[in-house]
């Protein structure tokens, strides 16, 4: 206990520091992009409120980044409506907009803002959405992400993921830091930093904690850290390696990998570090456990049949069924939240690539155009897959849509970025 506390003080209770941020670049897009016009929201007290975090710009960037929208230029349009009575639909059909977003931002007493927005169907000339937010100045980006999510869901029928967060490890100047950032790469904050490697961050289902592996004691140990208080506990520090934590969907347990008996095997442990139980028993490597969304099964990587392949077993242990058959090296399974798709890294003649397998049909598709891919994870809505790759000899993050059409590069000005994982909604 005392030991943990010391750690905490010397190594880890670093202040949460903002750092160089990721910027997203989109390559490609859906075959049918929805043309949307977003009129800059009116800001009666412009100098006091809207600076570079302009709400309208964030909404536009989010929708553009998804690859499903074409955000139209609105500056040349004669009318610039902010309220529904100001809308002249013919101006918007003229630029072939199908949807129009208008809104206002007003300063309220106490340094607060009132943001209201409407989403209009230009062809049917009716209102699809209307919402008002009373927020603090610092909630502008988050509010813009929420609005973008609402627009996205209304027009595509899928949940948006703009108001979610990602985590990743940044290696810079010989130091590793575990970062949490908004899904668009902004607001990056350091959760923990160390001069020894940090790998395998895993989000708790409620998004309030991260489990991760740290080599700070010269061997891999699993920690669980609260993102609210910054406090952390040692989840597993057994003889040998402790690695690959994965939360159960109900957040009460984690699947982990230990090497007690020399070979990596999968165990399940309660989130407080009690109740350790071995669930895989093989003579090969069993690692990278990943729960099915219903919590009944664990997908994992094993080389029990020779090369590494992905298997599935009951979460309580038992017979494992092989899931991947194409190719001789398939690793790092991650299941979509609807349980229908499996993403993983597949070795192909062209390199290590993000692949997706339909779990019902077994059909496999290789998605990425990069060649040194690692650590794929689905966005909460299952549409995009975030992964690590190498561009120009530098670790960087990328995302690809499950149909392979939309590709994003997340650019970081600073270090070597790796080990991403897409989390749930912002708190």
């Amino acid at each position: 206990m005392f030991k943990n506390r010391l750690f905490f003080i010397f190594l880890l209770l670093l202040p949460i520091v903002g750092r160089a941020e990721l910027t997203v670049e989109v390559v490609g897009g859906a075959a049918q992009q929805i043309p949307i016009a977003i009129v800059p929201f009116a800001a009666p007290n412009a100098n006091s409120v809207i600076q570079q975090d302009n709400i309208t710009n964030v909404i536009g960037a989010d929708l553009r980044m998804s690859g499903l929208f074409r955000v139209l230029e609105t500056r040349g349009v004669a009318t610039q409506p902010h309220t529904i009575s100001e809308v002249k639909y013919s101006d918007w059909t003229a630029i072939q907009a199908q949807a129009l977003t208008i809104g206002t931002v007003e300063a309220l007493p106490g340094n607060r803002l009132k943001v209201s927005f409407r989403l209009l169907d230009v062809l049917k000339q009716n209102q699809l959405l209307a919402m008002e937010f009373n927020i603090t100045q610092s909630q502008q980006r988050a509010t813009a992400h929420r609005i973008a999510d609402m627009i996205y869901e209304k027009l595509t029928g899928e949940k948006g993921v703009f108001a979610t967060r990602i985590t990743y490890v940044n290696k810079e100047n010989g130091r590793y830091s575990l970062q949490v950032a908004d899904a668009d790469g902004f607001n990056a904050q350091t959760v923990v930093s160390s001069k020894e490697p940090l790998i395998s961050p895993s989000w708790s289902p409620d998004g309030t904690k991260l489990a991760y592996v740290s080599f700070e004691k010269k061997k891999p140990i699993i920690f669980v850290q609260s993102l609210v208080s910054g406090q952390r506990i040692v989840l597993a520090n057994f003889k040998g390696n402790n690695s690959a934590p994965a939360w159960s969907p109900d957040g009460t347990k984690l699947a982990i990998v230990l090497t007690y008996s020399a070979n990596s095997q999968i165990y399940v442990i309660n989130a407080d570090g009690t109740g350790l139980q071995q669930v895989s028993f093989s003579n090969g490597i069993d690692t990278e456990p990943e729960w099915s969304p219903d919590g009944s099964s664990i997908y994992f990587t094993s080389n029990r049949g020779g090369g590494p392949q992905i298997y599935r077993m009951p979460a309580t242990g038992g017979d494992a069924k092989r899931i991947t058959f194409e190719g001789s090296y398939n690793v790092s399974p991650h299941v979509s939240t609807d349980g229908k798709l499996l993403t993983f890294i597949k070795q192909t003649p062209a390199g290590f690539k993000v692949a997706v397998q339909d779990l019902a049909t077994g059909q496999v598709q290789t998605l990425s155009d990069t060649t040194q891919d690692e650590s794929p994870s689905f966005a909460p809505n299952g549409r995009m897959i975030l992964y690590a790759t190498s561009v120009g000899g530098k670790g960087s993050l990328a995302a690809v849509s499950v149909d392979g059409r939309v590709k994003q590069r997340l650019k970081d000005s600073g270090g070597d970025v790796r080990e991403p994982s897409w989390g749930s909604a912002m708190n």
């Binding site: 490697p197 790998i199 395998s200 080599f215 010269k218 061997k219 891999p220 040998g240 390696n241 690695s243 690959a244 990998v257 090497t259 020399a262 070979n263 990596s264 490597i285 690692t287 990278e288 990587t301 080389n303 090369g307 590494p308 090296y329 690793v331 790092s332 890294i345 070795q347 290590f352 040194q372 690692e374 650590s375 000899g393 790796r418 080990e419």
Partner: protein
């Protein structure tokens, strides 16, 4: 002295196992022909050299066989094929030399650090590095080194270089033998 003898027997057994002489009477027993005897005595005397040198080393570093570039003990890395953890035949002499040193120096301790190249999965590579270090440990154990002398650790691909070709990858697929007092 007793230990040296035991070690000689062990070495003889190992070497015999490696030789391709037919075993006639007792298949399980070591078979020693004249060549093997020769090797055995050479190895035994080397082992004694190692032991005494290590003793001398307490006074000065000059004769440390672990640091002597002409001594095989100065070679500390064992390399592996992609996604493999078998110790290749070409590393037998290296493994045997270190095993011999550990047997002759019961207080010596090593950490076997397993590594992988930077391709594929970090977690799988962590496990693979572990298996590689354990493979070397088993090889050294068989030759008489004690469990308490050997620790295994894996860095997976975390210490790997920024490689793009096989010539570079193969340097990262290795187990490093690191002595306590290195």
């Amino acid at each position: 002295m007793k230990k040296s003898l035991l070690m000689s027997v062990l070495l003889a057994a190992t070497l015999a196992a490696c030789s391709n002489n037919a075993v006639k009477d007792k298949p399980a027993a070591p078979v020693v022909d004249s060549n093997a005897s020769q090797s055995q005595s050479n190895n035994a005397s080397n082992a004694n050299d190692g032991a005494s040198t290590a003793g001398a080393n307490q006074d000065g570093a000059a004769g440390n066989p672990l640091k002597d570039p002409n001594n095989i003990l100065s070679k500390r890395s064992i390399y592996f094929d992609f996604d493999k953890d078998q110790v290749k035949a070409e590393y037998r002499p290296l493994v045997e030399a270190h095993a011999k040193y550990l047997v002759a120096n019961p207080n010596a301790k090593v950490v076997l650090q397993g590594n992988a190249d930077n391709r594929g999965s970090r977690e799988y590579n962590l496990s693979l590095g572990q298996r590689r270090s354990v493979a070397v440990k088993k090889a050294v154990n068989v030759l008489g080194a004690q469990d308490k002398q050997i620790e295994t650790v894996s860095y997976g691909e975390e210490k790997a270089g920024d490689c793009k070709d096989e010539a570079c990858y193969q340097k990262d697929r290795r187990v490093d033998i690191v002595y306590d007092n290195d």
